[in-house]
Amino acid sequence: MDIFTQITSRAVPLHIEDVDTDQIIPARFLKATTREGFGENLFRDWRYKKDEILNADFVLNNPLYSGEILVAGHNFGCGSSREHAAWAISDFGFKVVVSSFFADIFKGNALNTGLLPVQLETQQLAIVFEHMSKDPDTEFIVDIETQTFKIKNTDHSFSFEISKYKKECFQNGFDDIDFLLSLKDEIKSFEAKIPAFL
């Protein structure tokens, strides 16, 4: 995992609720055996029309918007547990996803792969969307240390939750596996006590 402390970036507004993982990365693109390259097919069926012509109406194809932050509607990432969804978003170039609510498994997957889920209140999310629609060049500052999401050049500064442990992971660029491997002996002694009939 890469170290992540703070970013300042413009953002892409995806004003849709209940975006499910089949939309983020359709199943037919899950045949790869490596983690790379999924960004190419992020939101494939929304980005392209049936005949593989770019869908100009979809926000990722709108030249006005770009950046390392994806701002989405309520209940983002519902559906399957495929981590490919988080990989696809990261691989496309996003480092942060903002929503007023994330599906459980997606949120865990994102945190595990270095994609920061920033959960705001509904009204705060509305303010963010409003600024973006008024000015696509609006910049945002995401800071892990202070756990804040700021709209640059405004007074809007929203705080977001992240566990102390995950915060350290992002700041130091280490992941759950590094941590679990450090517990090897404790796990072994737990394992030794499991009864045979189980």
């Binding site: 849709i16 609720e17 209940n75 737990f190 045979a196």
Partner: protein
């Protein structure tokens, strides 16, 4: 303190807690070809071995053809993915139920039918419908690939303890109403995000009266409410089902296991973070009209005018349905019977029982994909295959198939499919495909009539 079934399972697998996170020991790890290769690559990159390969079992299911499984896979990407699984299993000493193997099948079907799934265990798989196994009173949930890698590396997971919810359903189901209707009804009442953050225990006389297979259908779709998992307390039915299965404990171990399993049900007075109650009498055969499983209604209802879901209007455009429209009598083109929700032998028997002596409507393509090789062989041994063929249904070989349309079993764009699977998302069964979720019985009736019907009028 009185504990819930969930509490007992969670606490008995807790290695330690740190900063609000629990290190949970995992007894059984099921893997398949789609979500495991990156995890194998991950541990290899770290230069470590699987912590406990004997606790892992693999099967290729998501991306396999359901025809001619004895031949090499023709799609090069699918072939490569399945071969990667084979190679990884060989390299890391993981047991694999490969294509053609008598124990091959959809990962959530083969766990229970081989006695790998049992009360009291913690089980995970890189697939959200791992919740299915909870029907046996175990802690079972889906994980992402990074977590697959965690379990490979340490046989543990780092988790936040979820909240608990009990859903109680009481009363007797009326004729033509099945466990699939019960769960579609619950999801329609609680919405597609209504269970987020919770582990659900299903209880009540309706659930107790269900067979193990019907209970699995209930737990399977817990994830469609966003829940972490679902579970049902083990009882005599659970033990009867498991007795003498290949991997079930034997002899003295069996007796000790049952003694332990009997301690698992939630204590009287145990507190859940949330309780929901439903009555069997309110449940009718269900169908979905939208593009998430929460957008469901009973067959007698019309598509609602409003739904508390911002995706509602968009979903009706995708489905080409109108507000206020009744779906009873609507022509459909495809019927898909299968998946980890309804691809078990009881489902196939229910379908066979209904279609026997009848013919599918001419314009219908009807496919039956058994959940496992054992289901397929049982169906053939019981002569169900002949009934299906005579009625114009095609019986395939096991796999996930059109449930997610990763292989060539897809529904063409803009056509309607009444499906016994679990997800009606846009494009789930193929680009532009329009999925209507229903029970095997409702799907069988739709195939015969060529349109959506109320199965109760025909039985």
């Amino acid at each position: 303190m009185q504990k819930t079934l969930f509490d007992k399972l969670w606490d008995s697998h807790l290695v330690k807690s740190i900063d609000g996170l629990d290190v949970l020991y995992i007894d059984r790890h099921l893997i398949h070809e789609v979500t495991s290769p990156q995890a194998f690559a991950g541990i290899e990159k770290r230069g470590i071995a699987l912590a406990n390969p004997s606790k892992t079992i693999a099967t290729p299911d998501h991306n396999v053809p359901t025809k001619n499984q004895h031949l090499p896979i023709s799609d090069p990407l699918s072939k490569f993915q399945v071969e990667t699984l084979r190679q990884n299993c060989e390299k890391h000493q993981v047991e694999i139920f490969d294509l053609g193997h008598p124990q091959h099948g959809i990962v959530h079907i083969i766990g229970p039918e081989n006695g790998i799934t049992r009360p009291g265990l913690s089980m995970v798989c890189g697939d959200s419908h791992t919740s299915t196994h909870g029907a046996f009173g175990c802690l079972a949930f889906g994980i992402g690939t990074s977590q697959v890698e965690q379990v490979f590396a340490s046989q543990c997971l780092l988790m936040k303890r979820p909240k608990t919810m009990r859903i109680t359903v009481n009363g007797e189901l009326s004729k033509g109403v099945t466990s699939k209707d019960v769960i579609l009804y619950i999801i329609s009442q609680l919405t597609a995000a209504g269970g987020t953050g919770y582990f659900i225990e299903y209880a009540g006389s309706t659930i107790e009266a269900m067979s193990m297979e019907a209970r699995m259908t209930i737990c399977n779709m817990s994830i469609e409410m966003g829940a972490r998992g679902g579970m049902i307390a083990p009882d005599q039915k659970t033990y009867n089902y498991l007795k003498d299965r290949t991997y079930s404990p034997k002899g003295k171990d069996w007796d000790e296991a049952v003694t332990y399993w009997e301690t698992l049900p939630s204590d009287a007075g145990a507190i859940f973070d949330r309780e929901e109650r439903f009555l069997a009498a309110d449940i009718h055969p269900m169908i979905t009209f939208g593009t998430n499983p929460g957008m469901g209604m009973n067959i007698g209802q019309a598509v609602p005018e409003t739904v508390d879901d911002a995706g509602f209007d968009k979903s009706l455009v995708y489905m080409d349905l109108q507000k206020g429209e009744r779906l009873e009598g609507k022509t459909i083109q495809h019927v898909f019977i299968g998946s980890c929700t309804n691809g078990r032998i009881e489902d196939l028997r229910a379908v066979a029982d209904y279609v026997k002596g009848k013919q599918k409507a001419e314009h219908i393509t009807a496919m039956i994909v058994p959940g496992s090789k054992q289901v397929e062989l049982m169906a053939r041994a019981e002569g169900l295959d002949k009934i299906f063929t005579a009625s114009g249904f095609e019986l395939r070989e096991p796999g996930c198939s059109a449930c997610l349309g990763m292989n060539e079993d897809k529904v063409p764009a803009h056509e309607y499919c009444v499906s016994t699977s679990n997800r009606n998302f846009e494009g789930r069964q193929g680009q532009g495909a329009r999925t209507i979720l229903a029970s095997p019985l409702m799907a069988a009736a739709a195939a015969i009539s060529g349109k959506i019907v109320d199965v109760r009028k025909f039985i």
